[in-house]
Symmetry: C2
Subunit: 317 residues, 2 copies
């Protein structure tokens, strides 16, 4: 069996732990197609938060409490950068994490595409699944905002909105800069085409999954492919399990509920993506037109619980 | 009084501590023109070992025991880079030090010349003297070597020769790559032109001072200028005070002695640089044609001892 997972950062990483556990049990191959919309250059280094969250988590190097970055992290470089007054100061690059960005940036400067760099970095981490960026091209999520007191609209990088402003400024819309001319990374369309099932991880639908689907050809490959498509709701009982999906959904005017996100993805028959939609027991009344909805526990408390979610998702297909 | 010092790394940095102390006493202005031949890119970062040694030492941030790099340094990034198998692994970038290179590289990539970057970095360190790179252009010291068993000659970066091979492979000559087309950094020629005295720090004459003088126009400005020129011998009693000046001098076929180095710089009357040459008491018999030689203690054991050297040098003019 071949499984493709579209995934964002921390939620996607934890979900992939369960997918890998399930896949090992049944002998399946897993390809993770990971969001790059959060990527940015910081102090001249290319930082790929979602790819790194997945790589560190699957490689056993992630900080389990903080949820992002490396276990046992130290912050010497960050405090030195602050001593120089170097901006931006609102994004914390840990010392361990920084080495990843140095290696990545050096390879990118040498002409290797991000997908090749990701593969090279993964030789250290041995994530046990194939990691692919959604695209090798620049595709950055920007956010059109106003200042709290009003004034002109301006676009800021997603990370500035999320990390610096905690999504707490007037927000008008999201823009996936570069999406029109981006191409799926090598292997992405082949993986989707060969998949038996495509899973939409319980990641933020607006800023983790949508930028993946914004790569021309990728949404079509999923929607029109032979693989069954099952999504896992990132919303339980009307609240985001983690992160700020509620704020992102509000910007789109979509209800923060399992039904709201299911409707955003949409049923395949109506030009959407989903064959199945997995929701939490609290949301068992959820209806998404033309989509098979099933309710199972969706808390990713440990790998076994997450693998059980994956099994339930596959039973939906 | 205006003093210009041509200086390399650690020896130059310690000498400048004494120059600064002396200058504060007499109310002199100091400009240090610093070697850039050791500079290199490591993991995509522009590293300027000599400028940093001077900046950290004068700014109170240098490691006093190791002689290079930052006090209280940690090595997290280095060990992470090793875990990725990233090369080169023979050059140790400390975590604290690395922040300097990140800020510098970001500014250089933004189009600022090295002299402007150096000035910006110095706003943190407040070295108390004006720091100028010899040139803003690429000028790298390469070393033409053979493998120990023989074979073709090849050129390697000075740092690879020095740090990786400890200068212990067959060495044929030094090449200052880019020197022909380099221009003195803004302020260098003006400083030399306005100086009352130019001091040649007791740095390595072959790989610290020579690359500075290799910048077209710089040697001429010193040799033909109105400032008196006094050198301080880096060799005491036939041995280099620190570093591997002996190995470098051997490559040039110059005797490792105060007389050998004095002769290498040469007296002004014979087209060389020196008016005066300060040697250690052990070397009081030193003769350099047409140069006033004086013997005083040259061990830079502390700032006061070094300031006394500077006073003696100025008394020679």
């Amino acid at each position: 069996m071949r499984i493709v997972v579209l995934a964002g950062g921390i939620g996607g990483a934890r979900f992939l732990l369960g997918v890998r556990a399930y896949a090992r049990e049944v002998g399946a191959e897993v390809t993770a197609v990971v969001n790059v919309g959060d990527d940015l250059y910081l102090h001249g280094l290319k930082v790929c938060p979602d790819l790194d969250s997945v790589m560190y988590t699957l490689g056993g190097g992630a900080d389990p409490e903080r949820g992002w970055g490396r276990a046992g992290e130290t912050w010497t470089v960050k405090s030195e950068l602050a001593a120089y007054g170097a901006e931006p100061s609102w994004f914390g690059l840990g010392d361990r994490d920084l080495a990843t960005h140095l290696v990545r940036t050096t390879m990118l400067s040498g002409g290797y595409p991000l997908s090749a760099v990701t593969e090279a970095l993964a030789t250290r981490w041995q994530p046990g699944v194939r990691l692919l960026p959604a695209t090798d091209d620049r595709l950055e999520t920007h956010v059109v905002v106003s200042d709290p007191g009003g004034g002109d609209q301006r676009a800021i990088h997603f990370q500035e909105w999320w990390v610096r402003h905690r999504a707490e400024i007037p927000t008008h819309r999201f823009v996936f800069v570069g999406a029109e001319s981006a191409k799926p990374a090598p292997g992405v369309l082949d993986a989707v085409g060969a998949a038996d099932v495509v899973l939409l991880a319980p990641s933020n639908p607006v800023v983790s999954i949508a930028p993946i689907l914004a790569v021309p050809g990728l949404r079509e490959a999923v929607a029109d492919g032979s693989a069954r498509v099952v999504g896992i709701s990132p919303i339980i009982g009307g609240a985001a399990v983690r992160g700020m999906a509620d704020r992102c959904l509000a910007v789109l005017g979509v209800e923060c509920s399992a039904a709201g996100v299911g409707g955003l993805y949409g049923g395949r028959a109506a030009g959407g993506l989903l064959d199945g939609w997995l929701v939490a027991p609290e949301d068992e009344e959820t209806v998404v037109p033309d989509v098979t909805v099933r309710a199972v526990p969706l808390r990713m408390t440990d790998e076994a619980a997450t693998a059980a979610m994956v099994r339930a998702a596959l039973e939906l297909t």
